[in-house]
Symmetry: C2
Subunit: 336 residues, 2 copies
């Protein structure tokens, strides 16, 4: 068994059961598998951007996508949905891909060229679009971790997961967005952008195409949400000027985190609509394009996660966190 998704009938939540097959530490010993020259250390390339021209001309890649060596979901597996007595089980049909974000082992979002961040975003777009052509895939999630203790590979990369189920977090958001629209006749995310822009209490940046703010009910002291100001349910329909704007904004926000709270560990997660090409998804979420609004979530790992009876507890007001990050930015600017 490679792994399986199991659903808890009491909570409706899915769990991925995946007996350990290899020690991931084997990457730890040798040279970085994501650096130029070590391409043979990864499984065969899925996609890459290469500059065909330029001064000086470059033979290598700018962004590269490879399968994960110890994948959560695999394209080769048959999609099997079955009942085990009263329980539900699904095979781990899908994909686990790694986006190597740069040939530069030391690249960080705050130090990167905006053009390079743009390339990474375009690659996200390409891969999400391509994966959604597979009608056995219902959900694609892109995550990027920075500085998480325990990560073995320092080279900057993102992970793309494609799964045969709509994950619980997205399902919850879709349901909430639908309920809100049914009651208000407005998108909850569009409303939130207007509210955050109007009060300014938790706003970090408002660019031509995006709004970045600390959510009203942030789960950890430093959480950021980045929303496109144009209503759109699917990230992969992003426009070129939005990509440029988002690249600049991400660089800037990561810079604020470094200046404001000192190079913290964080996780970026892309929340985009499930695969609407799948009829059953389109059937269940028939108003998704109206209700839902793609976005990025940036979550700074707290020193200690605090929970009480399943509720997140935070000891910092979101308004205070926003003020700290805004002031980190204003340090750059000459004061009048």
């Amino acid at each position: 068994m490679r792994g399986e998704l199991r659903k808890d009938p009491a909570t409706g939540k899915w769990v991925l059961v995946r007996p350990r097959v290899r020690n991931n530490g084997d990457f730890d010993q040798g040279p970085c598998p994501f650096c130029p020259g070590n391409e043979h250390l990864t499984p065969p390339e899925i996609a890459a951007y290469r500059a065909s021209t330029g001064h000086p001309p470059r033979a290598g890649w700018d962004v590269r996508v490879v399968p994960e060596r110890d994948p959560y979901f695999v394209i080769e597996e048959d999609l099997v949905r079955e009942g085990i007595g009263m329980f539900d089980r699904i095979s781990t049909r899908g994909a686990s891909e790694i986006v190597v974000e740069s040939p530069d082992h030391g690249m960080t979002l705050e130090s990167a060229d905006e053009a390079q961040i743009e390339r990474v975003l375009w690659m996200y777009r390409d891969r999400v679009k391509d994966l959604k052509r597979d009608l056995q895939i219902r959900n694609v999630v892109v995550t990027r971790r920075h500085g998480k203790p325990g990560s073995l590979i320092r080279h900057p990369y993102s992970r793309i997961l494609a799964a045969p189920i709509v994950f619980d977090d997205l399902r919850t958001e879709l349901t909430q967005a639908r309920e809100y629209f049914a009651y208000k006749r407005r998108c909850v995310f569009c409303d939130t952008i207007r509210e955050e822009a109007a009060t300014g209490d938790r706003l970090i940046q408002l660019t031509p195409h995006f709004a970045a703010f600390v959510p009203y009910a942030a789960r950890v002291p430093f959480e950021l949400r980045v929303l496109p100001r144009r209503h759109a349910s699917a990230f992969e329909e992003i426009a070129p000027d939005e990509v440029g704007d988002l690249a600049r904004l991400l660089k800037s926000l990561c810079g604020l985190l470094v200046k404001g709270i000192g190079d913290p560990s964080y996780r970026i997660t892309l929340h985009t609509a499930p695969n609407l090409a799948v009829k059953i998804v389109q059937g269940e979420w028939d108003t998704i394009e109206r209700d839902y609004h793609w976005h990025l979530e940036i979550l700074v790992y707290p020193e200690r996660a605090m929970w009480v009876a399943g509720i997140a507890v935070t000891e910092m007001l979101p308004e205070e966190a926003a003020r700290i990050l805004r002031e980190a930015g204003s340090l750059d600017q000459p004061r009048g």
Copy 2:
């Protein structure tokens, strides 16, 4: 501001925002505040069991309940529900109580007298019943931690939280249970007991009144669910013979954890129906007594929590975890 509950409109989830008011470490310096003779170190007692007779006669208490010194929810606060722009906020009206489980600083569930565990369970019952008389309280949760790194007080205690909202985890369970009943005309928990007893793959113990098993979709390698075999939505209606049986079972299960995996850190959580005396709760969950089934959840803290895109990942099959715990028990018994 003492703290507030904030709701995220995108996810529907509540967060408790509670600026730090005191260093909890102040308990760390002096003598144990929960040991006999140090009763003056805690806020005034809420309830206690004292043996009025016995050989030898005892002047002290057997179980004692006090308010938490740095409470999450407080009885003195006014219940205020208000909108902040488009957002929802609720004051932290409720209660945070500590059940000191024994005068014995070193008591553990596996070493305790069954009679003492019974007293603790009766005290849970008394406090839940009493707190539910308060119509501003919608939800009561009892949790007990053992050996969690970071806990300052070693003396055995449980925490009782009473809150003005139905917490997300319980809300999810209530919704799932209602949907299951609507479709199957049966309680999902009763069905699960039958299934686990029939297959035996994940069963740990079946007593006259309870079933204990590793759930089919356990989120961590060692998770246990303890369900009363008699359908009942509210723990506080527990019968005397059930209390005795549950005390024996808890002692036994904690013994299996110690023998099977070596005194791990764990958390026990009581899942019971919300406060049906509150009209709006009864209105929203009008079939709760039919749908829902109280239970205990025992969750052993994993070495590292693994999550991918919001889904729990576990590297041990629940059937394997159950086998390890069952075999730990069989070591006690003479082999034929």
